[in-house]
């Protein structure tokens, strides 16, 4: 038997290698073998050099005051953020009269808050639809004026961010019911309805948005009774609505195909008619399935509103062109202006895509795994 008083323990074994912590992460992800390490060093060198020079251009050497001469002196060395400081109201609000610009500001904030409200599931009640209707009317009243003592501002002077938000929300709000009808029509057993829906969707999806906008600008006035002359804004919204509805109809059709046929059969045994079945049973399931796809469409439409510049509606991109093209002092600094509106678009689109991922995760929680 061993003697407790003379107990000598064996040598300690070294501790096992750490698999957590930053050193281990670097070893696995950045330097696992020689090619990995080489790639890491090359990329660090490349992005370090590029990033450092971009930082130098954008922050220390940059001119932040709205001073055209200082900006000219710093050309090539530093960014001219002064162009943003000087022109941001023109870029964001377009040609809206200067003293009245509180009106588009309030109107835009109103619509954006309505959108944010609609993102939260707790608020999906009937009064939300009423709130949207009131919100749109308030937007039009604020922007156009002519009532309640506000001076009238014609739609040709609306521009910038309020116009972008109006185009997106109005087109999507009207395209959504149209898309549902077209998706249902495409699955209809009646051949006339089905042919019309199929032709509409395939025709609109096969052509670029620009040709739809050209059609809306040049051809819509021909289709209406002689004498009516719809506003260019109304025509463009109609064009974008038709365009968006075709793409959304395809996405919704995919969702409709995913609803099991047993649901339809059960609904008919309960005695529910066609429209009641759609409203109470089919559409909630179909829309929940394709919500990420629909959000993709929304983001795409938000980006596509920049195209209305080509039919002379000066939303955010067009307002930048207006602000800088006519001013020889600030025209050389278009790059900084473009970076500014790129940031605005990026913030909007990135938040929408993050929200879409969050919604998808929430929906997947309820599915059985």
């Amino acid at each position: 038997m061993s003697d407790p008083a003379n107990f000598t323990p064996i040598a300690e074994r070294p501790a096992p290698g750490r698999t957590g912590g930053i050193i281990a992460w670097v070893r696995v992800n950045l330097a696992s073998d020689w090619t990995n390490l080489f790639m890491t060093l090359v990329l660090l060198a490349l992005f370090g050099w590029g990033g450092w020079h971009f930082f130098l251009w954008a922050v220390p050497n940059a001119v932040f005051r709205p001073d055209a001469d200082a900006c000219q002196a710093a050309r090539g060395i530093g960014a001219c953020w002064g162009v943003v400081a000087e022109k941001h109201r023109l870029i964001v609000f377009g040609r809206y009269p200067y003293e009245q610009q509180w009106r588009p500001l309030v109107a835009t904030l109103l619509l954006i808050s309505l959108v944010l409200l609609s993102c939260v599931r707790a608020f999906w009640r009937r009064w939300l639809i009423a709130a949207w209707v009131v919100g749109f009317i308030a937007f039009i009243v604020l922007m156009r004026g002519g009532w309640l003592g506000l001076p009238k501002v014609g739609t040709d002077q609306w521009g910038g961010l309020p116009l972008t938000i109006l185009l997106v929300t109005a087109s999507l709000a009207m395209a959504f019911p149209l898309a549902i009808v077209v998706a249902l029509g495409r699955r209809s057993p009646m051949p006339a309805i089905r042919t019309v829906c199929v032709t509409y969707v395939e025709l609109v999806r096969g052509v670029p948005l620009i040709s739809v906008l050209f059609m809306a600008s040049f051809m819509f006035p021909l289709f209406l009774p002689p004498g009516t002359n719809p506003d260019v804004l109304v025509r463009v919204i109609a064009g974008i609505t038709l365009f968006a509805a075709a793409y959304m109809a395809e996405v919704i059709r995919g969702g409709l195909q995913a609803v099991p046929s047993g649901q339809f059969e059960a609904a008919s045994t309960l005695g529910l008619g066609y429209w009641k079945t759609q409203r109470l049973i089919v559409m909630p399931q179909a829309l929940a399935t394709v919500l990420p796809g629909l959000m993709n469409n929304f983001i795409a439409i938000l980006k596509d509103t920049s195209l209305v510049t080509i039919v002379s509606l000066y939303e955010l991109t067009g307002a930048l062109g207006l602000a800088l093209n006519g001013d020889p002092n600030w025209r050389p600094f278009k790059i900084e202006g473009y970076l500014f509106i790129m940031l605005i678009y990026f913030v909007f689109c990135f938040s929408m895509s993050r929200y879409s991922l969050w919604v998808e995760a929430r929906l997947n929680r309820s599915k059985a795994h």
């Binding site: 002689p226 980006k303 991109t317 678009y345």
Partner: protein, 294 residues
């Protein structure tokens, strides 16, 4: 609607019919693949526009496939920096409208590049300046190599800044979407396939080529077709940077002749035929790479 249209057109004195295609165009086109003069008829102008669109679309599709596949595969790299760069690229280029990207590239081409008198050169074969990119061209009499001249680079095949802008902008924008499509396709191949391939000793490159990509292609090809169609349709934005594609020429023709309906029908016909042709080719490819399931 038809009576309205006819009444409106009569009231505005708009003639209809496609006979304007035989009239003299009266405008010059900046760049064209076939010889074109302002005395040529409108239908030839539309043909030049169509060739310009096809030129940028086909080249764009090839380049965007290469770049998109590299980015999509890079998302699965062992190197965290490569993964991060691919993710950052996709998020950056997807969330900014294509029109703004095109305008931004045009400004960079026109303002940041050096004057044609002192172009950037690579191996004395390629010259890049505000006047465009000059590359050696193979003619009947041998290679035509560009040389710097007094006012511009002479010789060679010159790709105009407008063409480069549209090509670069479309390629980089669509590559972000193609990268996501490829990533979804590769992720759809089960992890078990990769583990089984590793267990028989295949290297990562061989695994990708022999095991993952053939199965991923089934999932990749339909959305990829969509992205090719999107690239072709987005080439219509060339009108914003002055590249004479079919929409730009139809716009000029529309403004000159007032035949709105006919010109728009031409634009729509061009894009519908290109879309159908691309879908047809991709469907044939799809059927060829479909794995025969037992």
């Amino acid at each position: 609607m038809v009576t309205n249209t006819l009444a409106n057109m009569r009231a505005r004195g708009i003639q209809s019919g496609f006979d304007f295609l035989l009239q003299t165009a009266g405008f010059d086109i900046g760049e064209s693949a076939i010889p074109f003069a302002s005395t040529d008829p409108y239908w030839k102008a539309f043909l030049v526009g169509l060739l310009n669109t096809l030129r940028v679309a086909i080249l764009g599709i090839v380049l965007t496939t290469i770049l998109g596949v590299l980015l999509g595969v890079g998302r699965f790299s062992r190197n965290a920096l490569v993964r991060g760069i691919c993710y950052g690229y996709v998020e950056l280029f997807r969330n900014i409208p294509i029109l703004i990207q095109l305008l931004m590239w045009y400004i960079l081409m026109v303002e940041v590049l050096p004057d044609p008198q002192e172009p950037l050169q690579l191996w004395h074969l390629f010259y890049l300046s505000k006047g465009g990119l000059a590359v050696p061209m193979l003619t009947g009499a041998g290679w035509d190599i560009p040389r710097p001249g007094t006012f511009a680079v002479e010789g060679g095949w010159v790709l105009s800044p407008e063409f480069l802008t549209v090509l670069l902008g479309l390629t980089l924008y669509t590559a972000a979407f193609v990268a996501e499509v490829v990533r979804a396709g590769i992720a759809s191949v089960g992890q078990g396939q990769v583990e089984a391939a590793e267990s028989i000793g295949l290297s990562r490159g061989l695994i990708l080529r022999l095991v993952v990509l053939p199965q991923a292609l089934r999932v990749i090809i339909p959305p990829m077709t969509n992205q090719y169609l999107n690239l072709t349709k987005n080439s219509s934005l060339a009108v914003a940077v002055g590249y004479p594609d079919v929409v730009s020429i139809a716009n000029t023709a529309l403004n000159q002749t007032g035949r709105a309906v006919e010109c728009i029908i031409v634009i729509m016909a061009v894009y519908l035929t290109t879309s159908l042709a691309t879908s047809l080719v991709m469907n044939i490819y799809n059927r060829r790479v479909a794995i025969q399931e037992r």
